[in-house]
Symmetry: C2
Subunit: 187 residues, 2 copies
Amino acid sequence: MQISEPAEYAILGLLKARPMHGYEMFRQFTSGTIGQIIHLEMSQMYAYLKKLEGMAYVEAELEPQGTRPPRKIFHLTATGQALFLEWLKEPVEKPRDIRILFLIKLYFMQRFAPDQQMRLIERQIQACERFLAHLESQQPETCPPAKGPLACTDDTAFFNRIVLRSRIHQTRSLLDWMRELQQEPGI
Amino acid sequence: MQISEPAEYAILGLLKARPMHGYEMFRQFTSGTIGQIIHLEMSQMYAYLKKLEGMAYVEAELEPQGTRPPRKIFHLTATGQALFLEWLKEPVEKPRDIRILFLIKLYFMQRFAPDQQMRLIERQIQACERFLAHLESQQPETCPPAKGPLACTDDTAFFNRIVLRSRIHQTRSLLDWMRELQQEPGI
DNA sequence: AGAGCCATGTAAGAGGTTACATGATTAG
DNA sequence: CTAATCATGTAACCTCTTACATGGCTCT
């Protein structure tokens, strides 16, 4: 078992700012910036917290609350903080993760280490350029020397090209967007 | 219970071309064009077929096969065909569905009704433009009644703008791509 | 008085993934 | 001789969603 979901890193990020209980984090999720990027259900939040606690990335103390259920105030452990910071500085591998994972990284980078935002963006652009080169290298091969059962009929070759182009287009547009980000005042 | 996944429509589409058994459809998925768009596990294919059979969109006859398990040759029912064709001609609502759902629609449209591809693309562009207008209408509100010159000093407001812009950028790039598609020879 | 907020969770269900089971045939 | 292909599926597992349970407080 290990951390896999964007929301789990977002939880670690919230707790890095300050200790909080589950309900409060949920409000930050739904009303704040992160909620526009990740959707999260109330009970899923509790499930993640349970999981993170089991993995010793967070710990909790109970704060009695009168008649209501006591608040569980979570805070990051040393290993949790180390994991988060390690995750934070690495760009994402695949372009499809940019719209969620990268945006979250950027959000926390701005809060915790604004001076390293530029570096993250640059490295993300490089990763994206590598992917683009990989896609573009496939373009000639899309319809290979016809041979065997996978030989391209006109139909599939034609459409394969459309699919490939759509991915290239998408990746290019992400690159454009990130290059605009670099110009953004305040970053 | 009802059809929700792209893969289920893709199955209906394959069966519209001709009756097939599950394993054969699976091969078409993994080796053909559709496999580049949707990922599908073997057992998930059988699960979908079971579900579609239960909903009476497909039916099957057994074809004995000697020692091996008999092939289940599926074919579309009238309601299955009607559902598929209805689905096929409608553009998708949200831009994020374009990279999967719309591409699949386009793929089958090319196979079954190439003369209606243009219309589908046009309507999809319109749907996308509506969405873009909706996004762009949010932009002024993100940075409320300007107190300073251009100042969005607040942290969250600043980042909200970045998120919103990323979505606008994404939607614009999809529009660009679809407009290129319109120029494509062969469509 | 009823709706919604606070604050925690559990339980049931829906859905997907991985591994397992069969067993002859064909390719390397 | 080993591995992959063919052809079906089941079973266990994991994850996410939706509904439920509690119960006082505040707002309209």
